[in-house]
């Protein structure tokens, strides 16, 4: 790769970094890494045109640039705003951002069914992470949550429209990876839904990648459905000689014992598909859905997974515990023999 031109200086949360012109604030923050990186639910660097929709990556620009030091009047979507020389950005140090972000999380969870206990995405769900990291415990919504008519979109992919956050990523996959997009957004506003018009089954070689890009459990692998929880399966890197020229053949197998429960593309620390030779490592449906034996694959070794997921990390720090109501129920009498796990057991104590 050619030497990158780095001549734009940007400061994010008081950390300065030099980046190439045309870099977005989000990418600059990702180069710094760690806590200053805003979350991204709809933006996907490998999909052209994605981003700007979920508003969870909002940041405050406290200084526009060296030339024009005025702050930007509104919070901006960091995934779609390019940096200017001398720009100063506030993410976690901003006063406005955490509140706005908590608002976005609340909006995203407003009509979400919160059926994590039966959702196959649980444990690797970006909405779970976002909710734990930036949301508030409890909801103020007291109405019936939105539901949709169930729709079968083919033998490989399960669509749960109630979980969808309308990030549009899957439509970009279909546009950019497959020959013809047969699904899209129907309707508008809060009744907008992902659908194949007149229940046309999605059937092409790369449709499975929609599962990988889906940040939530709206699109899940039918061949893995209810088979296991992701945190019980062991990920290993593997590859095979795939004869599909667009498939990279490099995958992660999710094993339990010798059984291959699931095959996915390899993902990087931001939850996106890894790139090989500058090309995103999308995989074909044959690799994903049909090669479910260890003998189909050459296993390279255990996958180093980023433990960003709240479940894998178990970081419940700072979580506000639900209020103890036993005393109230017992008319002020303190419980003695009841299972007093919040106070006695070490298991649930904050670290």
């Amino acid at each position: 790769m050619a030497e990158e031109i780095k001549n734009i200086k940007v400061t994010i949360d008081n950390i300065s970094i030099e980046v190439a012109p045309g870099t977005t604030i989000l990418h600059a923050a990702r180069q710094i890494g760690g806590e200053v990186t805003p979350p991204a639910m709809c933006y996907y660097s490998k999909l052209q045109g994605s981003g700007g929709k979920c508003r969870s990556c909002l940041v405050e620009v406290s200084k526009g640039s060296e030339k024009d030091p005025r702050p930007m009047p509104k919070l901006v979507a960091s995934c779609r705003t390019t940096v200017m020389d001398g720009m100063e950005v506030k993410n976690i140090t901003s006063e406005k951002v955490p509140e706005a972000r908590a608002g976005v999380v609340e909006f995203l969870l407003l009509n979400h069914p919160l059926d994590c206990p039966i959702c196959d995405q649980a444990g690797e769900c970006h909405l779970q992470d976002l909710g734990y990291n930036h949301g508030k415990a409890g909801t103020r919504y007291e109405f019936k949550r939105r539901t949709f008519e169930k729709e079968d979109i083919g033998p490989y992919i399960q669509l749960h429209m109630t979980r969808c956050i309308l990030c549009y990523r899957c439509t970009y996959v279909a546009d950019q990876l497959t020959e013809k997009r047969v699904h899209g957004i129907l309707e508008r506003g809060d009744h907008a839904e992902i659908s194949t018009y007149i229940s046309k089954a999605i059937d092409n070689d790369f449709s499975g990648n929609m599962i990988d890009v889906c940040p939530v459990g709206a699109l899940t692998d039918k061949t893995f459905r209810f088979k296991n929880r992701v945190w019980f399966t062991k990920p290993v890197d593997a590859h095979r000689d795939c004869n599909n020229p667009k498939c990279c053949g490099k995958t992660t197998l999710w094993l339990r014992g010798d059984d291959v429960y699931r095959v996915t593309a390899r993902k990087d620390e931001w939850g996106e598909v890894k790139s090989y030779d500058g090309k995103p490592g999308w995989i074909c449906n044959t690799c994903r859905f049909d090669k479910k034996k260890t003998s189909d694959w050459v296993i390279e070794g255990p996958t180093v997974i980023n433990r960003h997921s709240v479940i894998s990390q178990g970081h419940y720090d700072g979580l506000v515990m639900p209020q103890e109501t036993i005393e109230k129920v017992l008319n002020g009498r303190k419980p003695k023999l009841l299972m007093d796990i919040h106070d006695v057991s070490d298991v649930n104590k904050n670290k």
Binding site: G51, G52, K53, C54, R55, S56, L58, P73, K74, L75, A77, R80, E99, A100, G103, V104, E106, F107, L108, L110, N111, R140, Y141, F143, I165, L166, Y168, G184, I185, E187, R188, G189, D190, H191, A192
Partner: protein, 452 residues
Amino acid sequence: MGRKLLLDKAHVENIRTYDVYRREGGYRSVEKALKSMSPDAIVEEVKKSGLRGRGGAGFPTGMKWTFIAKPEGVPRHLVVNADESEPGTFKDRYLMEFIPHLLIEGMIVSSFALGSNVSYIYIRGEYAWIVDILEQAIAEAKQNGFLGKNILGTGFDCEIYVQRGAGAYICGEETALIESLEGKRGNPRIKPPFPAIKGAWERPTVVNNVETIAAVVPIINEGGDEYAKIGIGKSTGTKLISACGNINKPGVYEIDMTISVEEFIFSDDWCGGIKNGKRLKACIPGGSSVPILPANLLLTTAKGEKRLMNYESLSDGGFATGSMMGSGGFIVLDEDQCVVRNTYSLARFYRHESCGQCSPCREGTGWMEKILWKIETGNGKISDIDLLWDIQRKIEGNTICPLGDAAAWPVAAAIRHFRDEFEWHVLNADECLNKNYGLAHYADPIAVPQTV
């Protein structure tokens, strides 16, 4: 009554036809502009006139025109926004229906100034019959050599096409309009890039309101300086106001932005006072998305001055005590109207029209509607009012396009100025179903802070 520039000839018989329009002095500006002026000179003239966008935001038109990129070999486009869907606004409809050639004339001059050889009118689908009127006008202009190839022998080519929308409010937002014009789903684009750089089909595009483009005709005919003499301060020229609600004479009025709001509502020249001898309670002065004002703040500003019908005076005091000129949809509410009910219907409208692209607007508009319905039907809690306030605050400014703001502002203003009416709804759950809160103190004079 002030001078009329746009609707002066609107009632001449058969003005809709080319022959009558031409006889009344139509298409003079095209002859003047194309034969004796350069495109830059026209832009300069519009800049001098101080004309501000009539669609709602009030951005200076001449300035907008200078932003258009002029890359070599790439066509540019003028798109006229006739997707007039703001509740309470119907001025463009009137203009296009009665005097369509004025718009076509303005478009030819503007297209010449911007270098657009193919210009579009994006009209809302519900205005089905106006499409025929416009196409008739375009055909007539073409027959008489004002459109098509080599207009008036000046070598300038221009075609105008009318494109019908499919009935979405969001397509009045300029980037959603462009998407829809391209044949896609009408979702607003993320800016930048702005349409002036990359608009329709990635080409530099200027999107202007119907009234704005029509106003270019008198500017060219009389000169920008003459135009700027009408009005006060930065509110130059004339503005069409579509007045509706509980008034004696609803309709479209052309005002010169020097009259007071009080005069506009109560004078027989204009709205003719409140219907059935009732009293004025509140007013939404610029189309459904601008903040609602109670009678006292509508007629006088917080400083105690008379409020005038122009951009500056209507927005005097910011959102705390002022409102906006907006698109000129003037909605008057009398003492029998319920502000909670009114806010609910607006919230329902915005929920229905949200495109669903970004989460605060998609989820927040529906949430606000549900809470407002709860309060309106006597099932609300006092904490719901604070919750509404919090929701609107989290929508405003955090969305891709201004629809989020437009949905948040009416709710915010209603709570800001009419909180006691909301509380009355909550505390008198049974009473509110068959009785109105009435005028209350909303018309009482407000205490003006003493200036030292």
